[in-house]
């Protein structure tokens, strides 16, 4: 039986086999993530009964016993974990104390705003970071390289929440270049929901004015969110490009008399890009986390704002829901990146 599975496995085309393998790993990671989030709710010395019932109810032993039974807190830990997993599989992430709605419903509502913000910020960060990184590598150890080094270090050093405030003050309050906080102006109806991303939806439904408005609102938070990632992508691109520029095949391309531009962008960048794509997957996860700070300043109705409000009311279920969903997104993005990597570089398919 094993033999059959094994021989069948090796008859699959390389890319498919690679993808299936990565999918299994991704699924295992997701299970691990639920385990960590379960463990945290257990290990953390806050008593969930105290946290969720409030003082008056918690002082009544009968209510506490009922509560423990209802949520299976009187059972052994493995049983509790099994129950927890079972509920997760049904999409039950508990109830938010703050909104009194299922956490899963809340997440669905808030997710698209964060995804839109992160995608726009990621595009900005990749474009700026790759361009700066290439420039730094080509001018290695000369002044453009040094200047870019300082810029990228500043990018990873600036406190996001502070930059968000300063930018808002300058571009909205002083210069009036930004329309302010939120996703759209007050009273502007949202575009018909297709993807949940306002800019895309406005574009897909052909509403140019709405598209421009959505874009003007997202520009500032996306720019702020992109700073940190730009720094990371810049440094990584520089290292990857230096690595790549030292390769024999880059020298061979120069020996063929190709213009410097072609050598850098076609021959040197391509292998570096594979490494850059990998780091961008990890950077995306960090960006989702950074969204908490940006969203709380710009009242951007996303997962970050939701997590922030939940944290203020110590709403553990809601925050765990957010971390769980972001961890899963992170795993999925990196899974996608791995597969993309295999498509870019034909040598990767084992």
């Amino acid at each position: 039986m094993m033999q059959m599975i094994r021989s069948g496995w090796y008859r699959l085309p390389g890319l498919l086999r690679f993808t299936l393998g990565r999918l299994v790993v991704g699924a295992l990671l997701c299970v691990g993530v639920t385990f960590i989030s379960f463990t945290l709710t257990q290990v953390v010395p806050g008593d969930p009964v105290m946290a969720n019932l409030g003082e008056r109810a918690a002082s009544d032993p009968e209510i506490v016993a009922l509560y423990r039974e209802r949520y299976g807190l009187d059972q052994s830990l493995p049983e509790q974990y099994a129950r927890y997993l079972g509920r997760l599989l049904q999409g039950d992430l508990g109830e938010s104390q703050q909104t009194h709605r299922p956490v899963a419903t809340d997440l669905a509502t808030y997710m698209s705003a964060t995804i839109e913000l992160a995608i726009v910020a990621m595009i900005l960060a990749m474009a700026a970071g790759v361009a700066l990184g290439i420039t730094a590598a080509v001018w290695r150890n000369r002044w453009p390289d040094q200047a870019i080094r300082v810029i990228s270090l500043a990018g990873v050093s600036v406190p996001t929440f502070w930059l968000a405030l300063v930018c808002l003050y300058v571009f909205f309050f002083k210069l009036n270049l930004s329309p302010g906080v939120g996703r759209l102006g007050p009273g502007t109806p949202a575009p018909p929901t297709l993807t949940g991303l306002y800019t895309f939806d406005a574009l897909l439904s052909g509403q140019w004015g709405l598209f421009r408005e959505a874009l003007s609102y997202i520009a500032l938070p996306a720019l702020v969110l992109a700073t940190y990632t730009t720094g990371i992508v810049t440094r990584f691109t520089r290292v990857a490009m230096l690595d790549s520029l030292g390769n024999d095949y880059v020298r061979a391309a120069r020996a063929k008399g190709l213009p410097a531009r072609t050598v850098i962008l076609r021959h040197a960048l391509r292998p570096a890009l594979a490494a850059i794509v990998t780091v961008s997957g990890m950077a995306f996860g960090r960006m989702l986390a950074g969204a908490v700070l940006v969203e709380s300043v710009y009242s951007w109705p996303g997962l970050g704002l939701y997590a922030y409000r939940s944290a203020l009311t110590l709403d553990l279920q809601a925050i765990m829901g957010v971390s769980l969903i972001i961890a899963v997104i992170y795993i999925l993005v990196n899974l996608g990146v791995d597969i993309l990597y295999a498509v870019i570089d034909p040598r990767i398919r084992y």
């Binding site: 024999d248 095949y249 020298r251 061979a252 020996a255 008399g257 190709l258 076609r266 021959h267 870019i344």
Partner: protein
């Protein structure tokens, strides 16, 4: 050899910057000629400056390198021409083949893409024409199914096949000079022989000149018309292949030949004692003197000039211990 040579290098000196601010001289006062249709060999151990020489001729030296002397190629000085003219020549009239075919081909670009991009750049022509040219060249170097090969990636070929492809790539733009830096070193012996035969055949068919750089005198003896030997950045001996390889006059050449497996009449393989000097630590006087069995006191002080000892033979050794005895013992 009559008429102007295709490549005439005079007093080439290359220095590289050292992190502490001093300069390292990788090549000094090098004189070298490659005639039309000739395979000229440049031999030497690693660190002798032969690869730096090839990069200097191609104009691919790293940043901060300084070059002096002249290198006349088809009547123009490579070293003083503008970067733009140099780039137009590179890959067009003069092409280069690198040591390791496993790394010299771009792993992510198809063979067809890599074989046509410089042709299209230099000749401003269509992709279809460039592909036809590439196919012809692959056929010329005996790659089976050239059309199919164009669609594949380098990692689908063996080392020997890749070196053939690299040669075909170099030939695409009909260069007059090919600089081959250790083209067979990374290959198996049987594959080496095939590549060397290919060079000989191409030289005959295409009237190609080749500057063959190698540390392997065995390779040299197989194909080179002329042989020059470098040690520590300087030329120590030069002449026709048969002369240099059968009757070496410089002690270093002699040592190299004795180090060849199965060579050296006096009892098989002998290595040269000591290590070749690194680029940073050239000894004063004749750089070879610490390892030379014939070392005289003056060798430690004076740098021996390269002198012609016959029409076609130059050595840099005033002692000349291997000169044929006036009275030959018969």
């Amino acid at each position: 050899m009559t008429g102007a040579p295709l490549l005439d290098v005079t007093d080439l000196t290359v220095s590289l910057p050292h992190p502490d601010g001093s300069r390292l001289f990788a090549v000094r006062d090098l004189n070298l000629r490659v005639g039309a249709g000739q395979i000229a060999g440049l031999a030497g151990e690693s660190g002798s400056g032969k690869s730096i020489t090839s990069l200097a001729l191609m104009g691919l030296l790293p940043d901060g390198a300084k070059v002096s002397g002249s290198a006349m190629f088809e009547g123009r000085d490579l070293l003083s021409m503008s970067a733009r003219d140099r780039a137009a020549l590179r890959g067009r009239q003069m092409a280069m083949i690198f040591q390791d075919p496993m790394t010299a081909l771009h792993p992510m670009l198809s063979i067809g893409r890599q074989m046509t991009e410089h042709y299209r750049h230099h000749f401003a022509t269509t992709q279809a024409k460039a592909m036809r040219r590439a196919e012809e060249m692959l056929d010329l170097v005996r790659i089976p199914d050239p059309r199919g090969a164009l669609k594949r990636s380098p990692h689908q070929f063996s080392g020997g096949m890749r070196q053939r492809i690299a040669i075909a790539m170099a030939l695409c733009c009909e260069p007059t000079l090919i600089i081959a830096d250790e083209p067979t070193t990374a290959l198996d012996v049987t594959v080496q022989a095939g590549i060397l035969r290919l060079f000989e055949r191409l030289r005959g068919e295409l009237d190609l000149s080749v500057l063959l750089i190698t540390h392997d005198l065995g390779v040299m003896s197989a194909v080179a018309d002329r042989v020059s030997v470098m040690y520590a950045g300087r030329l120590v001996e030069g002449g026709a292949r048969a002369d240099v390889l059968t009757r070496p006059r410089h002690p270093y050449t002699h040592g190299l030949l004795n180090a060849l497996p199965g060579a050296g009449g006096s009892g098989g393989m002998q290595t040269i004692p000591g290590l070749p000097p690194s680029i940073a630590t050239h000894p004063p006087g004749c750089a070879f003197h610490p390892r030379c069995p014939f070392c005289a006191p003056s060798c430690k002080v004076d740098t021996p000039p390269l002198v012609a000892i016959s029409d076609d033979r130059r050595i840099a050794c005033p002692i000349d211990p291997l000169a044929p005895k006036k009275v030959t013992a018969s």
